[in-house]
Symmetry: C2
Subunit: 298 residues, 2 copies
């Protein structure tokens, strides 16, 4: 079964026709400098580029405790057996653990922390809830790449998120060098929406967590975007963070260096943008990928 | 059949025991500032780091002609069918073409050019011959990584090169950014030789051109090397070049960006270091990988 995009959908995708590029509707930044910890210059940078960097978000003690927690839950047999954990087939190493704001006190605390929630609320101009959370571990030597995509395209198509009024934070638990597969963003790309080609298979998430298929932009579109926007490589120290708009075109290369990369990743959505039925998928993804609990946090 | 390393081999490798690290014997730079185009500072940098960068080696016109030649030979059915051409199975795109100093007038000319040969001769302190030449094309979007290795380890084990008195030049035909899978070198690693574990299979080169196996250092050794030396990411413009010692520990990450990478790669060996029987392989590799024609060039 294929659900066709609704005729009123202003961000159509997963259609059988050619992919196309649509201008974003509505603002990127909804709040002002008076509404939270981000100053006018930082908000402007976020508006222009679609992301912002925080040099040091958490203390060294918090960093140590989060690293310890990641090690602990990664080796917990119950966590490893949970469907919300993604394990690399070849190495049997943990790649991602979802829903950590619910399952871990340590990661739950940072997900509700005013330093994080205050910034998310300021950018989105409303109360926010957690759409998704996870910890990611990209091992050294064998870290896999992640191809270019807009998170919003997936969340819209498969989770029913109406508009890109959502923001992600990636808190670095390790140093990000240019050479260990850091996040790459095409700065400014968040202002254009790439409609992707091809229907969403049933239970697409089960394969897409391992290998990307539906929701992948065409090479021609990505080449044009790279020409228009360039590529920013987001280096930064452990304990720092990156916040980025849900519609940024982003990717990461693989990592053959000995330096692993891990981070805590939390997605905040505006309570004025709660999810409805998926726009281009047979049924919503499980709640650990797209939450249906819209209770404000923080 | 397995050929055991000779008892007089001062660079043993491919043994069944643990890998070990041996100090390099002999100098890195054999000539002085009076012997060629490289000044004292550049020679010192090469001695310390194991590599040097040339911002602009060739003119824009030469660059254009080399790019055109790469496009021409990559689409030539005879070249594509030749055993000296490596084609990516999935995409059917050309990844490497060997022996281009023999098969192409354009690449033959640069391989014999005084700008290149003069530098090689100065570093190696003698006349030089071409041990190997190739053009490499690393496509955008799907460029594969290349794992850490020392070229000399392979050339010693499989081609019978006695000592690391050889230098490679990589002339960039495209811009090298940190994000499109550039060469990474552990600066200073050329002073230590990593003996690798495991015997060399028959015709190892046939699989090793596609996937690396024998001649791969242990993860623990690489982690220790990264701690000791760090990692230099060699960015630079098209038309520039990198020269590096044959025993540098180097690698490159994959490339999901739209920016392809291509280069001309030529290996010069000292005529006082010509190849003998392989030190750790059943038989020498074909001449397009390790030449047996020791005639000086330039």
């Amino acid at each position: 079964m294929t659900t066709l995009a609704s005729p009123t959908d202003t961000y159509p995708t997963r259609l059988d026709s050619d992919g196309r590029v649509i201008d974003r509707h509505g603002p990127v930044v909804h709040g002002g400098p008076a509404d939270g910890p981000l100053d006018a210059g930082t908000l402007q940078h976020f508006d222009d580029k679609g992301y912002l960097l925080i040099d040091q978000l958490i203390s060294d003690g918090e960093l140590a405790s989060m690293r310890q927690e990641l090690t602990r839950i990664s080796s917990d047999p119950q966590v490893r057996a949970d469907e919300r954990t993604v394990i690399e087939a070849a190495s049997q190493e943990v790649r991602s653990i979802f829903d950590v704001h619910l399952s871990s006190d340590v990661f739950g605390a940072i997900a509700r922390d005013p330093r994080v929630v205050g910034r998310a609320r300021q950018i989105l101009g409303s109360d926010v809830y957690i759409h998704q959370s996870r910890v990611n571990a990209k091992p050294g030597f064998t870290g896999k790449d992640f191809f270019w995509h807009s998170d919003f395209e997936t969340w819209h198509a498969e989770d029913g998120m109406p508009t890109p009024r959502a923001v992600s934070i990636s808190i670095s638990l390790t140093d990000n060098y240019s050479f260990n597969g850091p996040l790459m963003i095409m700065p400014g790309s968040h202002r254009r929406y790439v409609s992707c080609v091809g229907p969403t298979p049933d239970d697409n998430y089960k394969s897409s967590l391992v290998m990307q298929g539906a929701g992948t932009p065409a090479h021609e579109t990505l080449s044009a975007f790279a020409g228009d926007y360039g590529i920013d490589v987001l280096e930064g120290r452990a304990g720092g963070a990156i916040m980025f708009d849900s519609n940024c075109m982003h990717a990461s290369n693989g990592n053959v260096t000995p330096y692993p990369r891990s981070n805590v990743f939390i997605v905040y959505n505006s309570v004025e943008n709660t999810c409805v039925e998926p726009y281009a998928a047979p049924s919503p993804r499980p709640s650990f990928l797209g939450s249906r609990d819209f209770t404000p946090v923080g």
